[in-house]
C-alpha cells in the first residue's frame, strides 16, 4: 500500500510537469526542452528556503514560483521572438545552463553534494508527515493545476494560443501581438513546473542537480507526446505509463544503475517510434 501511495505521489508531481509543458508544446505548438530547469528552480527554492531560512513550505512554493517566473520572463523576452528550430535549440541551451548553475554555484546550491533534510509541508501546526496526507495535498494541487490549465486553454487567451500553433502569421494579421502571448504562456508554464519542484523537494527530502538535467526534460517531453498533445487527460495517461515503466524494469531484475540507463533507452526509443508512427501520441489532438 505504501508503495502504491509512493507511485501515486510521483504521478501527481509529474502530471503537473506534463500539464504545464502541454500548455507550451500541445496548445501553443512550441517545442520547449527546458522544463527540468524550472522544475529544479522550484525544488531548490523550497530546499533552500526551508533548510537555511526556516520558511514555511507553502510560502516557499510562492518563492519558487517567483524565481522561476522571473527567469522565464527574462529568457522569454528573447525567446518569444522565435519559433520552430531556434526556439527548441535555445530552450535546450537554457536547460544545460541552469543545470550547470545548480552544479557550480556551490555557495547556494551546495553543488553535487545536494541539499538534505528538507521538511514536509506544515500548516497551523498540522504536518503532512505520512505519505497518505502528502498524497492528498499533492493531488489536490495537481487537480487545481488541471483546472487552471483547462481554464486557460478554454479562455479567449487560450484560443489565441491555439491559433498561434496553427499559423502564427495569420493571427498576427488580426492584430494580436503573438510575442506577448508566447511570453505569457512560457512564464505561466515555468511557474507551474516550479510548484511541482517544490513538492518533489519536500517529498524526497533530498535534492541534487542530477535530477534536473536535460534528460529529465526529455522525459517530460516523452510523457506529453506519448499521452497526447493538447489533451490533459491524455497527458495523465502518459504520466501513469511512463512513471510505472521503470518500476516494471526493476521487477524484471536489472541492477539499479543499469535500470536507470534502460529507462533512458526505453523512453528515447519510444520518442523515436512515436515520431515515426504516431506523432500526435495516444490521445493527442494536435500533430507536431
Amino acid at each position: 500500500m505504501e508503495y502504491l501511495i509512493h507511485l501515486a505521489i510521483l504521478i501527481s508531481i509529474w502530471s503537473m510537469l506534463a500539464m504545464s509543458l502541454n500548455l507550451i508544446l500541445g496548445y501553443t505548438g512550441l517545442l520547449s526542452i527546458t522544463h527540468a530547469a524550472f522544475f529544479g528552480i522550484g525544488a531548490y527554492a523550497t530546499a533552500i528556503s526551508m533548510t537555511v531560512y526556516d520558511i514555511n513550505f507553502f510560502l516557499s512554493i510562492l518563492i519558487g514560483i517567483l524565481v522561476a517566473g522571473v527567469v522565464a520572463l527574462l529568457f522569454g523576452l528573447i525567446l518569444a521572438r522565435f519559433k520552430g528550430d531556434i526556439y527548441a535549440l535555445a530552450t535546450f541551451g537554457l536547460n544545460i545552463i541552469i543545470f550547470s548553475i545548480f552544479l557550480n554555484w556551490q555557495e547556494v546550491t551546495r553543488g553535487p553534494l545536494g541539499i538534505p533534510g528538507i521538511g514536509r509541508p506544515e500548516i497551523f501546526d498540522f504536518v503532512f508527515k505520512s505519505n497518505l496526507y502528502f498524497l492528498i495535498l499533492v493531488s489536490v494541487f495537481a487537480f487545481l493545476i488541471y483546472l487552471i490549465s483547462e481554464y486557460i486553454v478554454k479562455s479567449s487567451f487560450g484560443r489565441v494560443l491555439q491559433a498561434i500553433r496553427e499559423k502564427e502569421s495569420t493571427i498576427q494579421v488580426f492584430g494580436y501581438r503573438t510575442h506577448f502571448f508566447k511570453l505569457t504562456i512560457f512564464v505561466i508554464s515555468a511557474c507551474i513546473a516550479a510548484v511541482a519542484g517544490s513538492f518533489f523537494a519536500s517529498y524526497i527530502t533530498f535534492i541534487d542537480p542530477s535530477t534536473f538535467s536535460l534528460n529529465e526534460s526529455i522525459f517530460i517531453l516523452a510523457i506529453v507526446i506519448l499521452g497526447g498533445l493538447a489533451n490533459n487527460k491524455g497527458v495523465f495517461v502518459g504520466t501513469v505509463f511512463l512513471i510505472m515503466l521503470p518500476e516494471i524494469l526493476r521487477f524484471v531484475g536489472f541492477p539499479t544503475d543499469i535500470a536507470a540507463q534502460m529507462r533512458q533507452v526505453v523512453y528515447g526509443l519510444l520518442l523515436v517510434g512515436l515520431m515515426m508512427y504516431r506523432p500526435q501520441g495516444l490521445l493527442g489532438k494536435f500533430k507536431l
Binding site: 527548441a88 535555445a90 535546450f92 545552463i97 550547470s100 533512458q264 533507452v265 515520431m275 515515426m276
Partner: protein, 291 residues
C-alpha cells in the same frame, strides 16, 4: 611576468577547431534535410568510444583504432538516416518531428554507451607523460593538439574542395537549394543524403576521437559537444557551412578568454550568453544571409 595570452590563443584555436568539426556535419545534414539532427552529438561520442574499444579492449594499433572509430560513427549516422529519418521524410514529417526523433535517439544511444562502457571518464592517450610538448611564444601546445589542428584544417579544406569541384558537392548544393528541383533534374536525393550522413558523421567521429586523445571521453560528452555545436551553428546562421566554422572559432575564443578572469566551470554559461547576444542582435547569424 609571462603573458598568458599566447596560451589562451592556443586553447581557443584548439577548441574552435573541434567545435567546427561538429558544426560542419550539423550544417551539411541540415542543408540537405532541413532538420537539426541532435543525434549528431552522440555520434561524435560513438567515434571516441569505438576507438577506445579497439585500443583498450582489443589492443589494436592506434591507426586501426582511429579508423575503426570513424567507421563506426559513419555507420551509425548512415543507419539512423536509413532506418529512421528517410522513412520519416517520406511521410512528409515536419522538421520538428524529426528533431524530436533525433533527440530521442540521442538519449537512447547515450544510455547504451553508458551501459556498455560505464559512466566513468576515460582517456585515449595511454602514456600521458610521453606526449611531446612544444612551446610557441610562451604558450604550450601538445603534439596531440597539433595533430588535431592539422586534421581539422585538412578536413575543412578537402570538404571545401569537394563542395566546389566534385559532382557530389554540386549535387549537395542543388539539394540544399531545392530538393524537388534536384529530383526533377535526375539527382537521386536519397543516395546523396545518405552520403551526406556518412561524411558528416565521420567528421563528428573525428571530433569525438580528437577530444578522447586531448582530454578524455565520457558518455555524456555528446551533450556538451551538442551544446557547443548548436551554439556555433546558430551564431553562424543555421545551414551556413562557412558561417558555422566562423561561429565555432568565435565561440572558442570567447569562452577561453572569458575564463581568463572567472573560473573554468562557467565556460558553458559564457557560451550561452554569447548565444543570447546573437539571438538579440543578429538572429540570422554572423553573415546574416537569411532570417
Amino acid at each position: 611576468m609571462e603573458s598568458i595570452i599566447p596560451q589562451l590563443i592556443i586553447n581557443s584555436i584548439i577548441a574552435g577547431s573541434i567545435y567546427s568539426l561538429v558544426t560542419l556535419g550539423f550544417n551539411l545534414i541540415f542543408g540537405t534535410t532541413r532538420f537539426v539532427n541532435l543525434t549528431h552529438g552522440v555520434v561524435a561520442a560513438i567515434g571516441g568510444y569505438g576507438t577506445f574499444a579497439m585500443l583498450e579492449l582489443f589492443d589494436q594499433d592506434i591507426f586501426v583504432s582511429i579508423l575503426f572509430g570513424i567507421i563506426v560513427a559513419a555507420f551509425i549516422g548512415w543507419l539512423s538516416e536509413k532506418l529512421i529519418y528517410r522513412p520519416m521524410r517520406k511521410n512528409k514529417s515536419s522538421s520538428t518531428v524529426l528533431l524530436v526523433a533525433s533527440l530521442g535517439l540521442f538519449t537512447a544511444l547515450q544510455a547504451v554507451i553508458a551501459i556498455i562502457f560505464s559512466s566513468e571518464f576515460k582517456t585515449l592517450s595511454k602514456n600521458i607523460d610521453s606526449i611531446k610538448v612544444y612551446e610557441i611564444f610562451g604558450g604550450i601546445i601538445t603534439e596531440v593538439q597539433i595533430i588535431i589542428l592539422c586534421t581539422a584544417i585538412l578536413i575543412m579544406v578537402s570538404l571545401g574542395l569537394m563542395m566546389k569541384f566534385t559532382k557530389l558537392g554540386k549535387a549537395i548544393k542543388a539539394i540544399s537549394d531545392d530538393e524537388e528541383v534536384a529530383k526533377i533534374v535526375g539527382i537521386n536525393t536519397n543516395k546523396i543524403i545518405a552520403k551526406v550522413f556518412i561524411i558528416g558523421s565521420a567528421i563528428a567521429g573525428v571530433a569525438g576521437i580528437a577530444i578522447g586523445f586531448d582530454t578524455g571521453i565520457e558518455p555524456t560528452m555528446g551533450m556538451s559537444l551538442l551544446f557547443k555545436g548548436v551554439i556555433a551553428m546558430i551564431i553562424g546562421g543555421i545551414g551556413n557551412v562557412y558561417g558555422g566554422v566562423a561561429g565555432a572559432f568565435l565561440l572558442g575564443f570567447v569562452e577561453n578568454f572569458g575564463i581568463w578572469k572567472i573560473s573554468g566551470e562557467w565556460k558553458d554559461t559564457i557560451a550561452f550568453v554569447v548565444l543570447l547576444l546573437f539571438l538579440v542582435i543578429r538572429p540570422g547569424g554572423i553573415f546574416n544571409k537569411k532570417k
